[in-house]
Symmetry: C2
Subunit: 173 residues, 2 copies
């Protein structure tokens, strides 16, 4: 949302109160709204955590749970399962919504689910250079791609055995 | 997302797997993703429900809770409070997330909060032709604008006095 496409301008359309992205040529208004990131903390045997080492920038070489932009015509749960398949070639069942992180500075809302792998099978998708299962004590904490990965793993651990809880947010510390 | 703006085409960019909206003139890719609707079931004295009669299409003349498209650079809670102000000129405090509705057919995710009015003051904003507080038995059920209004009101009632619950979804019936 930072670089303005040529042929397009930001202006306040008549009757609106905010700047919108408008095509110089045809006048079409492109409404820009926050994007949803969907992802999942996936476990095998309730003991091992599925992480992907990113093959692409940003944060290439660092580990993350499967997560990415929600696409049109899917539910949040379907989007999370799609990301798990695309990045880690694993099949999971979604259990519950673990966390919602509001990141207004980058206009994103992250919705991270708790999921169980249906089999121990996995493999790197095109955006991953490696995929692995880690026991809690082996998680590469210093090589995680984003803060939300650690937040989500810790929320997962804190909520083991619990259901029916309110989704957690960004930790206060 | 249905009408294609002139000068723009839908095609699969190189390295992508999905059709995207691309400017014919400058090649810019406009990623279209699901939109978040934020809103709130607002009560005064835990007994009266704040509803707005829509002054604009669609569903002009029908009643709704305050809700609308989340905007850039805000959190979901801030967006819900903004919508309450814009549509009902009421100040509220957000309590908790009441419901998440996935509507993949229209690529929307609705996030509806439970909120308490900080004073009994309200007035119609530009998109409302009337705003009113209704006791439960006086809610105009047959004149509600959308199914999600009834879902949210009923979830609110079912969860009175409860906290720490998982957000509800679209009712099964």
């Amino acid at each position: 949302m930072s670089d303005l496409p040529r042929q397009h301008v930001r202006l306040i359309p008549e009757g609106d109160e905010r700047e919108r992205l408008v095509c110089n040529q045809c006048g079409y208004v492109f409404y820009e709204n926050p994007k949803i990131i969907v992802g999942a903390v996936c476990t095998w045997n309730d003991a091992e955590f599925l992480l992907c080492r990113r093959a692409i920038e940003p944060r290439r070489g660092f580990w993350t749970m499967p997560a990415g932009f929600m696409e049109l015509s899917e539910t949040t749960e379907q989007g999370a399962m799609r990301e798990v398949w695309e990045e880690a070639r694993a099949k999971v069942e979604i259990d519950t919504l673990l966390a919602i992180y509001n990141l207004p500075v980058i206009s994103q809302v992250h919705m991270i689910f708790r999921a169980r792998m249906l089999s121990p099978d996995f493999a790197p998708g095109p955006e991953s250079e490696a995929v692995a299962l880690f026991r809690w004590e082996d998680i590469p904490w210093s090589d995680l791609a984003y803060p939300n990965v650690a937040w989500s793993l810790r929320h997962h651990r804190a909520l083991v055995g619990q259901t029916g809880f309110a989704p957690r947010g960004i930790p206060e510390d």
